[in-house]
Symmetry: C2
Subunit: 221 residues, 2 copies
């Protein structure tokens, strides 16, 4: 197919496709004349993945290139090739510099979190970015005077675990690596607001029952 058809198939504009080609995010087509190249299904898949990483995923071009480099390198396992995509997704949390006074508190909380999750049998890399997100949130709660008791943390982990298992069963249905990575990006990023919005609605329901009783009417907005 020509460039215009590739654009139509993927919903990505021709200027954007040309930009991705220049940046090396998608491989060049096969030249058929001085000014035209031919593209195939491989380009469609790669373009969908690139779009998902840059738009929904909020990655930089450099981060997307890192993901693709690992995805294209057979020396990595499928687990690693999918995992790199998740690791590149925002939010990134800034870790205090060494020798900073806050560094000791940071390391202590991060260590406790790792220990607790490993005690639950969870396996993850020491460098998983999500550990920094957890550490930052727990420390900020503590700074505001709120404790996060370990029982509460375990309850969160136990509630989230079956969600992740069911979602991963969906991801594994994509046999083509590009499609699996794209699904990883889309589900990771787009299901996050769904979970948080459901939590807020559940809070509203619980509060409503507490204040008005199970039979009470919902009052004005």
């Amino acid at each position: 197919m020509h460039l215009a058809e590739l654009s139509r198939r993927t919903g990505v504009s021709v200027p954007s496709i040309k930009f991705y080609l220049r940046e090396g995010l998608i491989p060049p087509g096969v030249p058929v004349s001085a000014r035209k190249s031919e593209y195939d299904e491989e380009h469609v898949r790669r373009l969908r993945l690139v779009r998902a990483m840059l738009t929904v995923g909020g990655m930089s071009v450099g981060q997307a290139r890192d993901v693709l480099a690992v995805a294209d390198d057979p020396a990595f396992t499928r687990h690693e090739r999918l995992g790199i995509a998740q690791y590149m997704l925002p939010p990134k949390v800034t870790v205090p510099e060494p020798d900073d006074e806050g560094r000791a508190a940071w390391d202590a909380v991060r260590g406790q979190i790792c220990e607790e999750l490993r005690a639950l049998g969870w396996r993850f890399q020491d460098g998983a970015p999500a550990l920094d997100v957890l550490t930052r949130s727990v420390l900020t709660l503590q700074e505001l005077g709120y404790e996060t008791p370990i029982e509460q943390f375990r309850r969160y982990a136990a509630a989230i675990r079956p969600i992740a298992e069911a979602e991963y069963a969906t991801i594994t249905q994509y046999e083509v690596l590009e499609e699996a990575i794209e699904a990883t990006v889309a589900y990771t990023v787009l299901v996050e607001p769904i979970l948080l919005a459901l939590r807020r609605l559940a809070h509203e329901d619980v509060s409503s029952r507490l204040h008005y009783g199970d039979e009470g009417e919902v009052r004005r907005a």
Copy 2:
């Protein structure tokens, strides 16, 4: 206490306190001389709440003022006075304008979500901002070609529900309204990244077991 003591007690700088006073976010102190005023525990609580809304909560001064207006108005129930704080917290999602072609799809998805949650017995206002977040996420997934089957949606709701109930039991321990609102802001905003980070770590664990087996080693980062 004087302004300096109020600053020390709350960790809010004197210039920030003066700004909040000018904006009417905290009530004036009792004048004790031409240039000094006296502040009390009421100011400490209100200042902590204002800080939580503006920093952790990411609210604008106008939004914080709206929350305080409802909090100070005894015509509202406690449920409503706590709920307004949650409604003002980001993210806010933009709803398509009427007559837009996308409006029909928006309304259809939003209606399905409401119907499904009400069928589960959840009670919430039709105008709950979280409904817009859900609608936007489901529509974006659909635009990318991903379906969100109703069973998956129910699984998310079922997993989130006990979390919300346990959290709300914590919120209700704060009898003073300002403290309860501050806790609502802090827990709503700061526990959100905790849940999402746990989900990402759980994905990593599930993927690791799938690719290397339950006994396998975690490979390189």
